[in-house]
Every structure is written in structure tokens, then in C-alpha cells.
Amino acid sequence: MRLQHFWAWLSLAIGMVYFFLPLIATFEFSLRMRRGVYSFDAYRVVLADPNFQATFGYSVAMALLTIVMGVVLVVPTAYWVRLKLPRWRPVIEFITLLPLVIPAIVIVFGYIRLYNTSSMLPLTGTATGTNFLLLVGYTVLALPYMYRAVDTGLRAIDIATLTEAAQSLGAGWTTILVRVILPNVLVAVLSGAFLTFAIVIGEFTMAALLNRPAFGPYLQVLGANRAYEPAALAVIAFGITWACMGLIQLVTRLQKHTSARR
């Protein structure tokens, strides 16, 4: 397997070069704020802002909630479609591709039109209602990725057999989903969760137009028409998001350990 080893390392190396070079270039540029000398001035400016923590915390909370809503919405649906309604798969898949080509700005203006204070569902009138609307908007944005990831995971396991076995042991649908299917597609769900997390942290349009204190609009306000701060912001956002995802992965791995011991 020596040759395989070589190809594996080569693929990884090429990948690392391609991905790290632009990040290094951005980082290098962000260090140039003080003329002629490398310094962390741009970072100091960015991190000194009190709003940083507030907006980042808000976005992290929204991201986690979006992941939960996405999983609750997508996993049962993908499972059910695979199991019972295979003819619906093309329709569902087309629907999940739509958020990729419909501009987010059209979606959010649609929400404002449909769910404003004079409509049947006045969501925009209260902070909670608007937060809910934003949560739903984020879920819609993450839908393509979550669905595809979960669908891939379901494909790799034999859900028909698993379902039959669980039913013959007397399990109801909820038990099947939560205790049989979900643990088996956890890797796929995790992929979807990462994608969702990154989307929500960086999302700007919906949060800005719905007027919520999220991280995306904050980044935009700070970086507009400046040179070095946006580069510093990009690096910081990248690093922090990466760290958060690492945390999510750690938590999931700990869960697996505890459940395996059972």
C-alpha cells in the first residue's frame, strides 16, 4: 500500500497548498496596517469593539438553533422519502436546490411582505417573531446542504432492514428515527451541521434586512471602505468559526463514547 500512501499524502499536500496560500496572503496583508512593519494593529481595532462579542454570541446561538431545526426537518423527511415515497425524491431534491439560485434578498423581502405587522402572521412586529423568521430563513439557506448530506448518509445504510428490525422489536416511528436511524447517519448530519454553522455565522443579507444583531451585518459595518480591517476580520472569522466547529465535533465524539459504553 506504499503507492496508495503516497497518493494520499500528495492529494492532501496539494489541497493544503491551494487552501492555505490565499489565507496566508490575506493574513499577511492584514499585518501591514502599520507602515513598513508587521503588526497586529488591525486586529486590535477589530477586537476592541464591544459589539464583537454580542453579535458573535447571537450568531452562534442562531447557528445552533438552525442546525437543530434543520435536523428535525430534514432527517425524518429524507428518511420517509427514501423509505416510502421514492417517486417524490426528484421533487424534494429540486425544492432543496432552489435556495441556491434564488437570491437571499428576494427571499427576505418575501418574508417581510408576507409576515409583516398587518398580515395574518405578524412575525416582524416582535423581536421573538423576527428571530423566528430569521431562524427559518437560515434553515432555508442551509436546506440544500443539509438535505444532500443527510441523503448521502441514508444511502449508505440499509434503512429498510433497520426499520423492519426495529418495528419487529416494537419500536414506534420516533424511536426508530431517534435511536436507530439518527446515530447511524451522525457523520452525515455532522457534515450538514458544519455547513449550516458556517452559513449562519457569515450570513449578511437576511440579518441586515430583518434588522437583527447578527455577526454578518456587524462585519460589514466594520469593514466598509477600509483596507486592512476587513482582511483581519476575515482571518478572525475564519479562525473562530473553525474553533467552534472543532468544539461541535468534540462534543459529538464525547456523545459517541458515552453511548458506546451503554
Binding site: 494520499a8 492529494s11 492532501l12 496583508f29 446542504y145 448521502t152 457534515s191 458544519f194 482582511a231
Partner: protein, 291 residues
Amino acid sequence: MALTAGPGGRTARSWAWVGIMPFLAFALLFLILPTMQIVVGAFRNPEGAFTLQNIANLFTPAILGSFWISIRISFASAFLGCVIGFGVAWAVTLGELPRWLRGPVMTFSGVASNFAGVPLAFAFLATLGRVGLVTVLLRDWFGINLFALGFNLLSFWGLTLTYLFFQIPLMILIITPALDGLKREWREAAEILGASPFQYWRMVALPILWPTLLGTLALLFANAFGAVATAYALTGSSLTIVPILLFAQIRGDVLGDPHLGYALAFGMIVVTGVGNALYIWMRTRAERWVK
């Protein structure tokens, strides 16, 4: 699966659609209805009357050309993203690299998959632009003048190269669970029967993965097709892809024709639908031979 006969002899299968009601209701309320404005607006003129003129206006050489460029860039970045992403995902899952590498690669892919728009365009300008880090390095250390060799970041392939930054991680994240699903027993069985690694891949693994690969290709295609922020920041006035045209009509601070914008958006939905249909057709054929 217990089949209970309901009144009039209806079987349980007819209740199956209830299972996807939550999803359909969600999609209707929060995706389809809010964006009906696109479909309605595409067929309306500024006075509010029904018209097919907006759709007809799509068939000008400039707009058709932009659709064609969009499709080409989306396909190029999707295809390359698939191939390269597959290579990296394979390396990390089945390629016998150290276990601990997988976590960071997955989380990095998560972040990189959404690193797009102005920060990404700027990162690539700072790397491969006229006075980018790599350009200057190659010139000063190796005497290679990248631009004299014909390389130009602000071109079709330059934009594709930039798009790959979020396409490859997306592929890695989606295909890794599928690669995990390739049972070791199959590999071992193939080896016992005397198959070389190449034969194993060609005759066992790839056919199994084929529907998933196609599905991810479709996702990557749509992902690139709708991507506007990166292209805008990088080649604001040169590469006229459809989303840029769209935004020029319904956003911006010069009077545009919003109805043409909606027609463009409608066109994008149609192209996505056609692409999806193609993918479904190919997948159905592939799935005939796989359970």
C-alpha cells in the same frame, strides 16, 4: 411493514404522504410563497398586466451569452470540485492517513465551504493578482513572470479557480459519509477474488458511489450557478454571469428593469430544474444496477 386496510380497502401506503407534509408546508410557507414574486413578476410588465415580453427579452445574445458563461463556469467548477474533492476525501478516509487528520480536514472544509464573496476575491487577488504574494514570490525567487506566461486571474479559469475554494470543501463534506459507507468487506472480497485496486474501484466502488457523485455534482453546479458575490468582487465588470445581470436589474443604484430581473431569476430556476432533471435521469439509469 404492516399494511392495514382502511375503509374502502385503502392501504397504508396512501397515508405515506402525510410524512412529508411538514417539509412541504415549511417549503411552501417559507420558500415558495415568499419567492412567488419572482414567478409572478417575470410575467408582469411595469403596469401590472400579464406579458411574455420579459421572457422574450431573455433571448438576446447578451443574456443568452451570460447564461452560457454561467453554465460553463458552474459546470467547470463543479466537475473539478468533484474530482479534487473526491481525491482529498479519499485521502483522509480510505487513504490510511493518520486518524487525527480527519477532524481538522472536516472542520476546515466546513469553514472554507462558506468562505466566498469579497473576502475570497480579495484573498485570491492578494495571492495571484498583479502584485500578489505568489506572483511576487515566483518573480523574485524563480524569475517566473506569471502574467507573461498568459495567466490571468480575471478570466474564466481564474474565476473557476477561485470558485473551487468553496466547491472542493463542499464535495469533501458530502462525499465523506458515502466513502465511510463503503464496507471493508467489499474491498477484501474483491482482493480475494484477485482484483487490483483499480479494478476494485472501477467495478465495485465507483458504481456504488455513482448516484451520490452525480447528486453532489448537481449540488455543486447549483451552488456555483447562484454564486454572485465572489464574481462581483473579482470581475465586477468583465465576466457577465447571470446573477450579476440579475442584480444589476433588481438592485444597484441605477434604474433597472425589475421585471427583467425576475425573468432572469426565473430563467435560473428553469436551468436548475433542467440540470436536476438530467441528474435524476442519469441516476435512475445508474441505480438500476444497484440496490
